[in-house]
Symmetry: C2
DNA sequence: ACTAGTTGTAACTAATTTGGTTACAACTGA
DNA sequence: TCAGTTGTAACCAAATTAGTTACAACTAGT
């Protein structure tokens, strides 16, 4: 007699929406530029720290450049900060990489039946609230500058290396 | 001589991430149950107001049921509220339909180089902030009950029908 | 002027979500 | 028993995301 038991272990649970990592990659890049000001920051060098492909970095650098946060030298290569660290908020980075459209974090179903009282009015009522929720989130990002973030980061780096 | 001019108009701009409309559909459903308490709320009837397919409604009803927000009668059909309106916050609905995992609104790139000081520390520093931002957003949803939303909705319905 | 190294982009892929749809077994109440 | 309904599975098209290859254009130093 044979008894076969198969157990399937799924690595991840159900998938859900997430804001693109372009944002965190952007913050990572700016932190690198700030903390190692004397390096030659090519997309390849940056990709080494972020743990991804140089093209991904060039793409994000493109967004940051378009938003006036960095300068990128074509040909010779290398990126540098285009603005003081305390004049870059996390919201600036967030907006620059275009991960979420203004006022559109939530997808509200858009074909409710206009001849049903609820269907005809739910959109406007909900939108008002959801935009408020989105703004609350973005407000937290706006309240933090890259300077503050880099300070926290530097402290953590020191603490960690001291603890070894 | 022929001159042909082709103008391509794109309906939408670039696409970006959005939180699934399951959430707004869920709110729509609960509003219907509250405002028309004497109807026989089959998935087909609800779908008529939401402007979608009955199966979509049954799926969302499944989430709401699992979260204890509604009762659904199999066979004879029909959904009813399982909890008082003022004991359902928008956050309850949001959580029930599983659109965003707890603490995971933002996707932080997950293979930074551990041998680079920045790469080794950026994740924890960022996460702290991003979870805070997410909580701020969810706090707004938590502060509003379905009762309040239905009141605003009812007022708007009255105002509109009076204005005609 | 050449050349090596780099950026900016286009094109493509695999994985994944989402909303929609069809189909159907199981259930319920008259 | 039967008509109507729910709960699900299976499938589809559209779209995003991250990753990758490829390559023209550019720049600085020799």
């Amino acid at each position: 007699m044979n008894l076969v038991v198969t157990i399937i272990v799924t690595t991840k649970g159900c998938y859900v929406m997430q804001i693109s990592s372009r944002f965190s990659v952007g913050v990572h890049i700016l932190s690198l530029l700030a903390i190692n000001p004397n390096e030659h920051h090519t997309s390849e060098w940056i990709a080494g720290s972020v743990g991804t492909n140089p093209v991904i970095i060039r793409r994000v650098l493109g967004y940051l450049k378009k938003a006036g946060l960095v300068h990128v030298r074509a040909g010779s290569g290398g990126a540098t900060l285009a603005r003081e660290l305390d004049e870059i908020t996390l919201l600036d980075v967030y907006r620059s990489v275009e991960v979420v459209e203004e006022g559109k974090l939530f997808h509200v179903h858009d074909q409710p039946n206009p001849s049903c009282p609820v269907g005809a009015n739910i959109e406007t009522v909900l939108q008002l609230l959801l935009v408020k929720a989105q703004h609350a989130m973005e407000g937290v990002l706006e309240a933090v500058t890259m300077k503050e973030l880099v300070e926290v980061l530097s402290n953590q780096i020191k603490t960690k290396s001291a603890g070894e």
